[in-house]
Symmetry: C2
C-alpha cells in the first residue's frame, strides 16, 4: 500500500504516554489492513523550548509540512507559564495552526454510554447529545495585531479582531457540508448585535445558506449559546463559530459530556492534510505515572484515518474496539468508579489494539 | 425621610409587567418603613425606537442622570432585530451603560432551594452554589473601534478590544472588596496566554492582590472557566472578568442555577448610583399574558435598596418575603411543576408585597 507519512508530536506532560498508545494502534492497523505508515517524531511545545529554545522549531515545521497528517499529544505546563510570549507553548500552537493553514477545528462532543454518570448534567438532559463544534482556527482576535500604548487612563493594551469574507466563507461552507452528512442542523454562533466581525459573519452565513437548502440553519448569540448548551445539548448538531467563541464553547460542550478524557479533535486546512489531537490538556500533575487515559488520542487516530486517509473501515474498527473495551468494564483512573480496579495507560492501549 | 428618585424604564416584552410588580414593592416599602420614592417613567429600547426614533432618547438619559437609581425591565424583541445598528435596542443598552458610567455589572447566581430540580445539573453538583460574576461593562471589544475595509480576502470587518490600567484597576478593586464581604475567594478570568488585553488585566490583578491579603486569588483561563463552572460551580465565590467574557460566563452561570427567572443584577459606577434589572430578557413570546415571573425584578429592587440606598432592613424583608411565598408553594408558570396551579404575574407581586 501507499506509504502514509505521519508527523508525531508527543509534546509535554502526558503527551508522550498517550501518543505511544496511539502509535500501537497505527502498528495494529498496518498488521490488520496492510497499511504502511512512516512516522517521524518532532519536538514541539515546552520540550522544544527546553531543548531548542523555541516552541515551534523550523525542523518540526518541516517534518509536519512533508507529512500527510500530524498526530499531536498535548503541550504546555506550569514550567513555561511565566515565560515571555515567544517562549510559551501556546505560541507554538498558534504558530503551527497558522503555518500549516489549519483554519478549521472540529471537536465532536459525544456521550459514551458507560460514562453517562460522569457528567455533572442530568442523564435525561444529556440523552442523545452528539454535537460537533466547528471552530475557525486561524483568524479573529487570536491572530490580529496586539500592542501596548500610552493613553489617558495609563498604559493600555489593544487586541484586534479581524475577519474577511473569504475566511468566513470557507469555514462556514465546511460546516454546512459536515451538517449535510449528519443530522442536517447548523447553529451559527456570533454576537451580531454588538460586533462588526459578527455582522460580517452572519451576512456570509445568510448568503451561503440557500446553497444548502437541506440544512436547517439557526443563528444563536454567543451568550445565549453558552446557556442553550446547558439547557438543550441534545438539540444541537453542528455549531460553527469564530476562533475565540469556539474556544470557549467547545470546552463547555466537551465538559458537559463528562467524557473529556475521551474526546478527539481534528484541525484541517484545504485538502486532506490534518492535525489530530485529544481535546484534553497535558495534565502535568499525573504525567509519567501511567495514569493517563489514551482513548482520546486513540480516537484521534480514528479521525485521522477517516478524514485524511479515507481508511473508514479501520476507523470504524478503532471506534468499535474502544466501545468494546469500555463495555467490558475496563477503565483508566480518570473514568473508573472503583479506582483500585483501574488499569494503566499501556494496558488500555494494549486492550484496544487487541480488540481491533 | 429623604426622597429617593428612581428612574423607571419598563422597556419591551414582559418588561412593563414585571416592573409594575416591582413598583408595588416600592410602595409597600414606603408604607412599612417610611421611605419616600419619587418614580419617573422613561422610554427606552424598542418602544423608544417606535415612539421617538432612537433606543435611548435624550429625555430618558436626563431622567436617569437626575435619579438616584434606575430600575429597568427588559428591552428588545424580534421586531427590531433586523434594524440598522442605530435603531436597535442593544445599541441603547450599550449607550446607557457608557453614558451613566456603569462600568461594573454584578450578577449573583444562587440556587433557590425550591428550584433545585429546575437546573439541568445534578442537585449534588449544585449544592451550595452561590457565586457572583463581576463583569466589566464599559470597555473591551464592545466599545472599541469597529469598521469595514477592503482587504485581500474581500471585504473585512474589524473590532478592537482595548483596556487601560485604570479601567482594569477599578473593576478589580471592586471585585476584591466584594469578595472580602463574601467567602473571600476571587477568580480572575482572562485569556492571558493569547491576548494582550488579558496580559495587562492579569498584571493589574497581580499588582493589586497584595492589598487584599485576606482574599484567595486564582487566575482562570476563560475556556477553562467555562468548563469549571460546570464541574465545580459551588467552588466559585466571586468571578471578575472583562466585558465579553463576562457576558458569556454570567449567562452560563445563570443558566446552571436553573433559576434564570429569579436572578437580579446591578450595574454600578463610581458612587452609589446604580441601574438594576433582572438577568432574564424581554420574552416577547409570553408578553402581555400575565405569565411573566416578576421575582427577578423584585429582587433587583432589593439589590437597589442594599447597594444604592443602604436600606438593608427592607432589602432583607423583600428577600425573605420572596423565600416565604416560594416556600408556601406559589409559582408562576415558568417555575411551576404543575402548570395548571400557576399564579399570574400580578398575583405573585401581591403575595410578595403582602409577605413583607
Ligand atoms: C492554548 C490555547 C492557545 C488554545 C486555544 O485557545 O486555541 C487551547 O485553549 C485550545 O483550545 O486549543
Ligand atoms: C444585548 C447585549 C448588548 C447585552 C450584552 O451583551 O451586554 C446582553 O447580552 C447583556 O448581557 O446584558
Amino acid at each position: 500500500a501507499e506509504i502514509k507519512k505521519i508527523a508525531v508530536i508527543a509534546g509535554d506532560g502526558i503527551g508522550p504516554e498517550v501518543v505511544a498508545e496511539a502509535e500501537k494502534i497505527l502498528k495494529r492497523a498496518e498488521e490488520l489492513y496492510g497499511y504502511s505508515f512512516e512516522t517521524e517524531h518532532a519536538l514541539f511545545g515546552g520540550i522544544a523550548i527546553d531543548e531548542k529554545g523555541t516552541p515551534l522549531p523550523e525542523d518540526t515545521l518541516k517534518v509536519c509540512k512533508s507529512a500527510d497528517a500530524v498526530l499531536l499529544g498535548a503541550v504546555g505546563g506550569p514550567k513555561w507559564d511565566n515565560n515571555p510570549k515567544e517562549l510559551r507553548p501556546e505560541t507554538g500552537l498558534l504558530g503551527i495552526r497558522k503555518e500549516l493553514g489549519l483554519f478549521s477545528n472540529l471537536r465532536p462532543a459525544v456521550i459514551f454510554d458507560c460514562l453517562k454518570d460522569a457528567s455533572t448534567l442530568k442523564p435525561e438532559v444529556l440523552e442523545g447529545t452528539d454535537l460537533m463544534v466547528v471552530r475557525e482556527l486561524t483568524g479573529g482576535i487570536y491572530f490580529g495585531e496586539k500592542f501596548r500604548r500610552e493613553g489617558e487612563g495609563g498604559q493600555e493594551a489593544v487586541d484586534t479582531c479581524v475577519y474577511n469574507v473569504k475566511e468566513v466563507e470557507r469555514i462556514v461552507r465546511q460546516a454546512f457540508e459536515i451538517a449535510q452528512k449528519r443530522r442536517k442542523k447548523l447553529a451559527s454562533v456570533d454576537k451580531a448585535n454588538v460586533l462588526e466581525t459578527s455582522r460580517l459573519w452572519r451576512e456570509v452565513v445568510n448568503r451561503i445558506a440557500p446553497e444548502y437548502p437541506d440544512v436547517e440553519l439557526e443563528h444563536v448569540l454567543v451568550d445565549n449559546c453558552a446557556m442553550q448548551l446547558l439547557r438543550r445539548p441534545a438539540s444541537f448538531d453542528v455549531i460553527v463559530t469564530e476562533n475565540m467563541f469556539g474556544d470557549i464553547l467547545s470546552d463547555e460542550a466537551a465538559m458537559l459530556t463528562g467524557s473529556i478524557g475521551m474526546l478527539a479533535s481534528a484541525s484541517l486546512g484545504e485538502g486532506s492534510f490534518g492535525l489530530y489531537e485529544p481535546v484534553h490538556g497535558s495534565a502535568p500533575d499525573i504525567a509519567g505515572q501511567g495514569l493517563a487515559n489514551p482513548i482520546a488520542t486513540i480516537l484521534s487516530v480514528a479521525l485521522m484515518f477517516r478524514l485524511t486517509f479515507g481508511y473508514d473501515k479501520a476507523a470504524d474498527a478503532i471506534e468499535k474496539a474502544v466501545a468494546e473495551v469500555l463495555d467490558a468494564g475496563h477503565r483508566t483512573t480518570d473514568i473508573a468508579t472503583d479506582k483500585s480496579k483501574a488499569i494503566s495507560t499501556t494496558e488500555m492501549g494494549d486492550l484496544i489494539a487487541a480488540a481491533m
